[in-house]
Amino acid sequence: MPTPGNGRRVAIVAGVRTPFARAGTQLRSFSAIELGKLAVAELIQRTNLDTKEVQALVFGTVVPDVQAPNIAREVSLLPLLPKGVQAVTVSRACASANQAITDVADQILLGHLDVAIAGGAESLSNVPVLHSRGFSDALLAASRARSFGQRAKALSRIRPRDFVPITPAIAEPSTGESMGESAEKMAKINAIGREEQDQLALRSHRLAAAGTADGRLTAEIVPVFVPPAYEEVATSDNGIRDNTSLEQLAALKPVFDRKYGTVTAGNASPLTDGGAAVLLMSEARAKALGYEPLGYIRSYAYAALDPGEQLLMAPVLAAPVALQRAGLTLPDMDLVEMHEAFAAQVLSNLKGLESREWAERAGFSKPVGEVDRARLNVMGGSIAIGHPFGATGARITTTLLNELRRRDQQFGLMTVCAAGGMGFAMVVERT
C-alpha cells in the first residue's frame, strides 16, 4: 500500500456540485469562477465547516479566464473563507479536478495540509473569443501611435477578414486533430460499432434519469436559482434525456466522418457548464472535527501516450498502476466510474483493460480484466450528465463515494481520460 510511512490518510469528507447544464442554457450567465463559488459556498454551508480550519483551495479549469488566470484564488476569496486561504489553479484537461484533488491529497500526506477544498469549474458558455492576429496587430500599433495620423494609419490596415474572431477549438495543438476525430479513429481501430455506442449512450441516459428521479444524483447538487428572475431553479442536470430511444440515437448523423463515421452528438458528452468541489482532510483532523468522511483515497496514478495515436486510451495505462499501488485487483472494486467523453472511448478503454497488449504497454504481464457492467457507471456518466471539463473529476469522485456509501461497499475505481493523450485512475475506500 502506498502510504508515506507516516500513517496519514486522506479523507474525502463531502462533495457538492452545481447542476451540470448544457452550454448556452440555464447556467450561461455564470462565469467559471461563479460556478466554482456556488459549489464551494454550498459545500461549506452543508458541511457546517468552520472555515478557519481551511488552509488551501486548489481548483481545476481548462478554458482559461483571460481576466483571472488563477480562478482558484478568485473562488477562495469567497467571503465565507478567510482571506488567508492560499489557492492555486491546475490544468490537466478533463482530469483537472482530479489533479486538484491529488495535489491536495499529496500535501495532506506530506503533512503540509490538514483541511483543504479541491474541485474545478468550467463555463463553456463563456469561452473567450479572440481577435484575429491582424486585428490585434493593428490595435497594438494604434495604441503606440503618437499622433492621430499614425493612429488612423494603423487602424486603416485592418482588413474585413481581420474582423473574423477566433474561437478556441477542442483540438490537439500538437496534431490538430479534434477530440471527436480522435474518438472516431479509436472506434475504427478498436472495432467499436455504431449500435454499441448508441447502446452505451442510452444506458447512460437511462441510469442518470433513474439516479435523478430517486434523488441519488441530485443529493450532490446545490440548487441554482437562475438570474435575473430567480423564478427558475436548476436542481438537476439538464442534458439527461429519460425519454431518448435507440431509434432516436440511431437517426443522428455522424459528425466527424460523415461517410464511415459512428460518433454522433448523441453518443458523445455535450459542451457543459458547471462547478464541483470536495472537502479533503487528513483522517486525524476529520475525526477530531467530528466528521464521518465519505471515504478515503487509497491510491492514484497518471499516465500518458502519444496524442497522435489513440488520444483517449491512457486510462488503460493508469488503471493497472493505481490498482497495483492500492494492492488490489479489479474484482475487489465494488463500483467503477469511468468518465464518458465518448461512448467510443469508454468501449475502447474497456477493451483495452481486457487486452494483454495494453497490459504489456503498461508494464504488466496480465490485463486488468473485464469490468463487470453491473458495477460500471451505475448512475450513468458524462454523456448524459454532462461534462464541464474542469469540474468532471470532482463530480465523479463525489458520485462514486456517495454511491459506495449508499450501497455500504468498500472499494471504488475511477478513470478519467484527458486531452494530450493523458489518463488518470484512482482507487478509493470507504473505511
Partner: protein
C-alpha cells in the same frame, strides 16, 4: 485637568492635535472652545509660526460636533443665542488668523466640527470610508450655529449646501471632493504629510487660500452664482421643506431663513439670524424631544438588555432563517451585510428562490445607490445559501423563525429546528403577536428561546424588539441584543405577553380606528387627523400596509387577551371576511394599481362597513384624541405590568417601531408634556361615552393624583 489640544511646532508649522481626554470622540464643549481661543491668540502672536495644521488623534472621528449635554442644560433662548455668537466669533477669528490653517480630516467630521473646518484655509481629507461630512443639526431640531448656514453655501454652492443643511445628509469622500467641500483627498497614511506640505506652501505664500471649488457649469452659474437663480432655488426649497415638515419641525425653515437673510441682507445679518434662530430652537419643545430620543438611543446602544452584571453575548457567525418570506429574506439580507453566513430555509425551492431574490434586491439597491461595490455585491449574494431541508444547521449560532403566524406551524418549526441545531444555539421567533412562552412550550431548551420582533421592511426599519420569557436565560437575551445592534438596530428588551409592547399599543390605536369606521368616520378624514398629529401615515393606510388579514388576526388575539378594552371593531372583521388584504393584495381600504401604488379610497369599501356608504363628519380633534389616548393608555399598561422595563424603552419603541411622532418624544414624553391629570380627565370623558375602552390605566390615575411624571424634568437625559 489635561488639555484637549496639543501643539508641536515643526519648522514653522504648528501641528495642532485635538484629543479630548477620556472620551472616545472629540466634541466642541466649552473647555475645548476656550482652549481653541487661547491657541488662536498664540498663533496670532507667535512669529516663529508661519502656518498650522489641525488634526484629530481619535481613530475614526475628526470632530463629532457640539457637546449636546451642554446644549440640553440651557434654559433660555438668549443663553443659547449667546453660545452661537461665541462659536461664530471663535471661527471668525480662525478664518481671519494671520497664519493659514490646514484641516487634516480623517474620520467623521460633523456639525460644529464641519463648521470649524469650513473656517480653515485648506482642507485635506483621507479617502477612508469612515471619513464622512454632515451637518446633522436638523435631526436634533437645531440648525448649525457656528456660521455653517453662511459659510457652507459660499464654499460648495447653494444647492449642495441646502441639501446638507436641510436634511442632515452625510457626504462621503469622493462626493465631498467633487462639491468642493474638501480641496484634496489622499490616503490616510499620507494625510498629515500632505497637510503639512500645504500648510508650508500657504505660509510661504506659494499657494492661495482655498475658496472652495465651486463648479462653473451652466447650472451652477444660473442657480448658485447669481441672485435671481438663488431666489428661485430658495423659494423651491422652502416649498419642499414646508411640505415635508408639515409645520411640525421648525428647524429646516429656520435654517432656510438664516441662509436667505445672509444672501439678501448680507453675511452680518445672516450670522445674526443664524444665532437668533439657534437660540430659539435649542429651548424648543421639538428639539428637547429629539435630543431626548438621541440620548435614549445612545443609552440603548450601551444597554446589554439585562440587569448588570450582564453575561457576555455569544458570537453569531452563522444565522439560520426559517421562512423565506418578506421578513425572513429581509433579515437574511441585513445579516449578510454584517458578514454573517446565512442559511435560508423554506418548504419548497420556489419560496427559497424568491427569498434569495428578495435579499439580492436589497443588495442591488445598495449597489445602485453606490453604497457598495460590485465585488461586495457578489460577496453578499454568496453569503446567503438556501435549503429546503435543514442541511447546514449544524453550526448555526442563532436561528430566527419567520414563518406564518400560526402556533401549530411555529411549534412544528421549533421542534424540527431544535433537532438539528447545536445544543448551545439560540432560537428566536420573529412573531409580532404570539406569546413566546406559548411558542416555547414545545422546546427542549426553553431558556434558549426568545422573540426577535423585526419591523417591515427589515433593512429600513430601525427598531428591534427582543422578547424575553420568564425562562429565557440572560445570555440568550444579551446575545440577541448584541446581534440586533450589530445589524444596526436600536434594540429594546420587553417581557413576554400577547402583542408584547409595540404590537399591543399599535393594536389599541388601530382598533380605535376600526371603531370610528363602525361609527361612520370617513377614511380620508380619519387618516388626515392622525397625519396632522405627526404620524407618517394615517391608521387606515397603515392597515393596508400591514395587511388587513394580519391586523385582523392580531385584533382577535389581543381582543381575547385583554377583553372589553380591546374588543375588535366590526368594520375590520367584515373587511377581513371579504378577503381584502391591503396593498399586498392590491385591494384594501384604498385602491392600488398593479405595481402597488396607492390611489384614492375605494368607495366600494363602505358597502362592507356597518354604517354603509353614509359617512358622518366627526371632529378631527375627537378622532385624534381617541386614537392617541388608546395607544398611550395601552403603553402605560405595558409599563405598569412590567412588559416594559422603562418609559424610555416605551418611547423609543413607539417612535422607531410604530411611527409615533418623533417631535413628541414618545407616548410617555407626551403624557408628561400634556400632564397626567389632563390625560386622565380626557380619558374619563371618553370613557363616559365608550365604556370601558377608555378606562385609564391605574398607574396613570395614580400619577395624576400625585402630580408625578415619567421623567424627572424636561430636557434631562434619562
Amino acid at each position: 485637568m489635561s488639555a484637549a489640544l496639543s501643539v508641536a511646532v515643526r519648522d514653522g508649522v504648528a501641528i495642532v492635535t485635538l484629543d479630548l481626554p477620556g472620551q472616545s470622540v472629540n466634541t466642541l464643549g466649552r473647555t475645548v472652545r476656550e482652549e481653541f481661543a487661547r491657541l488662536f491668540d498664540r498663533l496670532e502672536r507667535d512669529s516663529t509660526v508661519r502656518a498650522a495644521v489641525l488634526a484629530s488623534a481619535k481613530p475614526d472621528v475628526f470632530i463629532a460636533g457640539a457637546d449636546i449635554e451642554e446644549l440640553s442644560g440651557i434654559r433660555l433662548p438668549s443663553e443659547a443665542e449667546q453660545l452661537s455668537r461665541g462659536g461664530q466669533e471663535l471661527l471668525a477669528q480662525l478664518e481671519a488668523l494671520r497664519v493659514p490653517v490646514v484641516a487634516a480630516i480623517h474620520g467623521a467630521c460633523l456639525g460644529g466640527g464641519l463648521e470649524a473646518v469650513l473656517a480653515c484655509h485648506h482642507r485635506v481629507a483621507s479617502d477612508h470610508p469612515r471619513t464622512v461630512f454632515a451637518l446633522p443639526e436638523v435631526q436634533l431640531g437645531l440648525i448649525p450655529g457656528a456660521g455653517g448656514t453662511q459659510r457652507l453655501p459660499r464654499i460648495i454652492g447653494l444647492r449642495n449646501a441646502l441639501d446638507m443643511i436641510l436634511t442632515g445628509r452625510t457626504v462621503r469622500g469622493r462626493r465631498a471632493l467633487g462639491m468642493g467641500l474638501v480641496d484634496e483627498l489622499v490616503h490616510p497614511a499620507i494625510l498629515l504629510e500632505v497637510a503639512e506640505r500645504r500648510a508650508r506652501e500657504l505660509g510661504a505664500g506659494t499657494r492661495p487660500r482655498s475658496r472652495g471649488r465651486r463648479r462653473k457649469d451652466a447650472a451652477s452659474l444660473a442657480l448658485d452664482e447669481n441672485p435671481l437663480g438663488r431666489m428661485v432655488v430658495l423659494r423651491q426649497a422652502r416649498e419642499r421643506t414646508e411640505a415635508r415638515t408639515r409645520g411640525q419641525y421648525p428647524a429646516p425653515l429656520a435654517a432656510l431663513d438664516a441662509i436667505t437673510t445672509g444672501y439678501s441682507e448680507g453675511e452680518e445679518r445672516g450670522y445674526a439670524s443664524e444665532a437668533h434662530h439657534f437660540g430659539d430652537l435649542v429651548v424648543s419643545e421639538v428639539s428637547r424631544e429629539l435630543v431626548f430620543l438621541f440620548f435614549a438611543t445612545q443609552a440603548l446602544k450601551k444597554d446589554p438588555g439585562v440587569a448588570e452584571p450582564a453575561p457576555d453575548p455569544l458570537p453569531v457567525n452563522k444565522l439560520a432563517v426559517i421562512g423565506a418570506g418578506f421578513m425572513g429574506s429581509g433579515i437574511a439580507a441585513v445579516a449578510a451585510q454584517q458578514d454573517t453566513l446565512v442559511r435560508l430555509k423554506d418548504t419548497d425551492l420556489l419560496r427559497v428562490g424568491r427569498g434569495l431574490k428578495a435579499a439580492r434586491d436589497v443588495f442591488e439597491e445598495r449597489l445602485r445607490k453606490r453604497r457598495i461595490t460590485r465585488g461586495r455585491f457578489d460577496d453578499l449574494v454568496t453569503m446567503v445559501g438556501g435549503t429546503t431541508e435543514y442541511s447546514g444547521f449544524g453550526n448555526v449560532d442563532l436561528a430566527i423563525e419567520a414563518v406564518f403566524e400560526d402556533v401549530a406551524l411555529k411549534h412544528t418549526v421549533l421542534r424540527e429546528t431544535e433537532a438539528v441545531l447545536p445544543s448551545d444555539a439560540i432560537y428566536a421567533s420573529n412573531t409580532s403577536t404570539i406569546p413566546i412562552a406559548t411558542i416555547a412550550e414545545v422546546s427542549r431548551r426553553p431558556e434558549q428561546v426568545l422573540g426577535m420582533h423585526f419591523f417591515s421592511p427589515v433593512p429600513k426599519m430601525p427598531l428591534l424588539e427582543v422578547i424575553a420569557t420568564a425562562r429565557t436565560s440572560p445570555t440568550a437575551v444579551t446575545t440577541a441584543v448584541a446581534y440586533g445592534k450589530r445589524l444596526g438596530k436600536t434594540v429594546i428588551v420587553v417581557n413576554d405577553g400577547p402583542g408584547f409592547y409595540t404590537t399591543r399599543t399599535l393594536a389599541a390605536y388601530m382598533n380605535e380606528a376600526g371603531h370610528l369606521l363602525d361609527e361612520g368616520a370617513s377614511i380620508e378624514a380619519l387618516d388626515a387627523a392622525l397625519v396632522e398629529f405627526g404620524f407618517p401615515v394615517g391608521p387606515v393606510t397603515l392597515l393596508d400596509e400591514v395587511g388587513i388579514d394580519v391586523a385582523g388576526k392580531v385584533a382577535v388575539v389581543l381582543g381575547d387577551a385583554f377583553g372589553a378594552r380591546m374588543a375588535p371593531s366590526r368594520s375590520l372583521a367584515r373587511v377581513v371576511a371579504a378577503g381584502r388584504t391591503g396593498r399586498k393584495g392590491r385591494l384594501g381600504f384604498y385602491k392600488y394599481d398593479a405595481k402597488g401604488k396607492k390611489g384614492n379610497v375605494d368607495p366600494s369599501i363602505y358597502d362592507l362597513l356597518p354604517s354603509g356608504a353614509q359617512r358622518t363628519e366627526l371632529p378631527a380633534e375627537d378622532m385624534r384624541r381617541r386614537l392617541v389616548l388608546a395607544m398611550v393608555n395601552e403603553a402605560v399598561h405595558c409599563l405598569e405590568t412590567g412588559i416594559l422595563r422603562s418609559a424610555r424603552d416605551g418611547d423609543v419603541g413607539a417612535v422607531f417601531g410604530i411611527g409615533f411622532p418623533p417631535f413628541r418624544g414618545g407616548p410617555f414624553r407626551w403624557v408628561d408634556s400634556v400632564g397626567a391629570a389632563q390625560v386622565v380627565e380626557r380619558m374619563d370623558e371618553l370613557n363616559g361615552r365608550f365604556p370601558p375602552r377608555f378606562q385609564p390605566a391605574p398607574m396613570l390615575v395614580e400619577m395624576a393624583r400625585a402630580g408625578r411624571r415619567f421623567y424627572p424634568e424636561r430636557g434631562r437625559a434619562p
